[in-house]
């Protein structure tokens, strides 16, 4: 009974760590706490309800979608003076940390 439980736990653990590894690979340098800290800069404009006219909601966004959108401003493919400036100083570590934090926040 006990050994069965241990075996089961190991399987779960393996599955879980594999999942973490996969996420880590996609989000190099991502740090939840750093993402939360950085998001302080965003919420001056992006409120959590998304009801503010003119500025969309960014919480709860899938990481890949978020990264794509930020990069569009960073490369100036998408036009918006404030967002180009915001994206301009976000490096990979910052973007990935924000992606991680925002994807897990309502």
């Amino acid at each position: 009974m006990k050994s069965k439980f241990v075996f089961f736990s190991i399987i779960i653990l393996l599955l879980f760590s594999n999942k973490i590894l996969a996420d880590d690979k996609a989000l190099a340098g991502a740090d939840f706490e750093y993402g939360q800290h950085l998001s302080g800069e965003c919420v001056t404009c992006h409120n959590s309800t998304g009801l503010g006219q003119g500025i969309p909601k960014i919480t709860g966004m899938k990481t890949a979608v978020f990264i794509k959108k930020i990069l569009a401003y960073k490369t100036k493919e998408k036009d918006n003076a404030v967002m180009q400036m915001v994206a301009d100083r976000l490096g990979e570590e910052e973007i990935n940390s924000l992606a991680l934090y925002l994807s897990k926040t309502k």
């Binding site: 800290h37 800069e41 919420v43 001056t44 309800t49 003119g54 400036m85 915001v86």
Partner: protein
């Protein structure tokens, strides 16, 4: 939240007392932060320290008023784009959602040696770290003839509250075809584009209800923020209504007379039917009392917003010398987050990240004609340093200007919920 058992509770307490190593604090007591001023800087700082420390820091916000009327968007109220109620906010969110202790009193003095704040009622509050974000005080005598009594005749409306309602009544009640005289402040002052947005909104009001009225601007400066954008907008929307006269042209305002409503300059004497005079400014008085000023404003350490005079005091917003950041609500909110992160780090050992600052100021020139200026900043040892920026361009198409105005509405809702909920 994890359930706290007796055992883990003892563990947390033991860990935090060793990490804090603050002999002045009795066992079990939390480190104390007192924030003076619940505006753009202070409300944000109180919220972020309380929210992110999750109960590990005791935060008290001392704010004289129960309701905070934002100066931002008060110009839109003048132009009928907002009603007065919509620019007022209360502090329930800070108390209920984040556990901030609200003390609605006037902080009358600071004893920095004993780390105590004295309140108007005579009570005192002790702190380990003090945040001062009192905004501005006006230097009434910077304009010869202006005074605290004169503010009801020629409102400055440069601090939040009833002044802006008074000004609006005077604008709306001005005689048909009359002259409105406006005196903007000299540098440095809160909200560099603010006086010119105000001129735009008063012109917008006149265009609807008093189209032959004139606005004369007697500026103590020779140039101003977003000048070419405002000038272009005034020409386009209010042709012939606004006359802006630079300091070099009028030669200086010698004297104003609030009973005859006359403004005497080298160039001419201007007679007003209604007026707004915005005098020179200085840091809110409590900063002087705490001894953290050097002249009119307070020097800070750019990386943390700590006062250069006292490492246990942080000065935010308008009161600070945050060169090159302008004195704005956006700046104050941005500085507050840097300070909050630093304060938590020093009280609880939490991670302190590289400081990053930002500002964007939108102004409304006419219906759906918004303009903006913004920049990013980092902390250099001697100043807050601009790293990149942008400004709207003259001749932009009307869709972009409308989108810019809509952004500003989003920002207002964003920053006020960031401050108060």
């Amino acid at each position: 939240m994890a359930k706290i058992t007796r055992r883990s509770f003892v563990g947390i307490m033991a860990a935090s007392t060793t990490a804090l190593s603050m002999p002045s604090i009795a066992f079990g007591a939390l480190p104390r932060v007192v924030v003076i001023g619940g505006g753009a800087g202070g409300a944000t700082a109180a919220k972020y320290i309380a929210k992110d420390s999750k109960g590990a820091v005791d935060v008290t916000l001392v704010e004289a008023s129960k309701r905070y009327y934002t100066c931002f968007f008060s110009n839109l109220y003048l132009g009928d784009f907002r009603n007065y109620g919509s620019i007022g906010h209360n502090y329930y969110g800070l108390a209920v959602n984040h556990g901030v202790n609200m003390v609605h009193e006037w902080a009358s003095s600071v004893n920095s040696a004993e780390k105590k704040v004295y309140l108007g009622s005579g009570a005192t509050v002790s702190y380990d770290k003090l945040v001062i974000s009192p905004g501005i005080d006006l230097k009434f005598n910077s304009v010869n003839g202006y005074s605290p009594e004169a503010q009801s005749i020629m409102p400055h409306a440069w601090k939040s509250g009833t002044q802006v309602q008074l000004l609006k009544n005077q604008v709306k009640g001005m005689k048909k075809g009359g002259t409105f005289v406006m005196v903007p402040p000299p540098n440095p002052y809160r909200c560099p584009p603010g006086p010119y947005e105000r001129i735009s909104m008063i012109a917008h009001q006149f265009k609807k209800t008093n189209p032959t009225a004139k606005i004369v601007v007697l500026d103590p400066k020779n140039k101003f923020s977003k000048q070419s954008l405002f000038m272009e907008g005034w020409q386009k929307h209010y042709p012939g209504m606004i006359e802006w006269i630079s300091a070099d042209t009028h030669g200086g305002i010698k004297k104003i007379n609030t009973s005859t409503m006359e403004f005497e300059t080298d160039l001419d004497t201007f007679k007003a039917d209604a007026a707004s005079v915005i005098p020179a400014q200085q840091a809110g008085r409590i900063a002087m009392n705490a001894g953290v000023n050097k002249g009119d404003w307070c020097p800070i350490v750019p990386a943390s917003m700590q006062s250069q005079a006292d490492e246990n005091i942080y000065v935010l917003g308008d009161a600070s010398i945050a060169k090159s950041m302008p004195k704005s609500g956006f700046s104050a909110n941005s500085q507050a987050k840097v300070a909050a992160n630093h304060i938590r780090g020093s009280l609880t050992g939490s991670k302190v990240f590289t400081p990053r600052f930002a500002n964007t100021c939108w102004s409304l020139v006419a219906t759906n004609d918004g303009i903006k200026v913004g920049a990013n900043y980092d902390a250099k040892p001697d100043k807050i340093n601009k790293t990149s920026g942008f400004i709207s361009k003259t001749g932009e198409d009307s869709n972009l200007r409308k989108a810019t105005y809509e952004e500003s509405i989003g920002w207002y809702s964003g920053i006020t919920s960031d401050m108060f909920s």
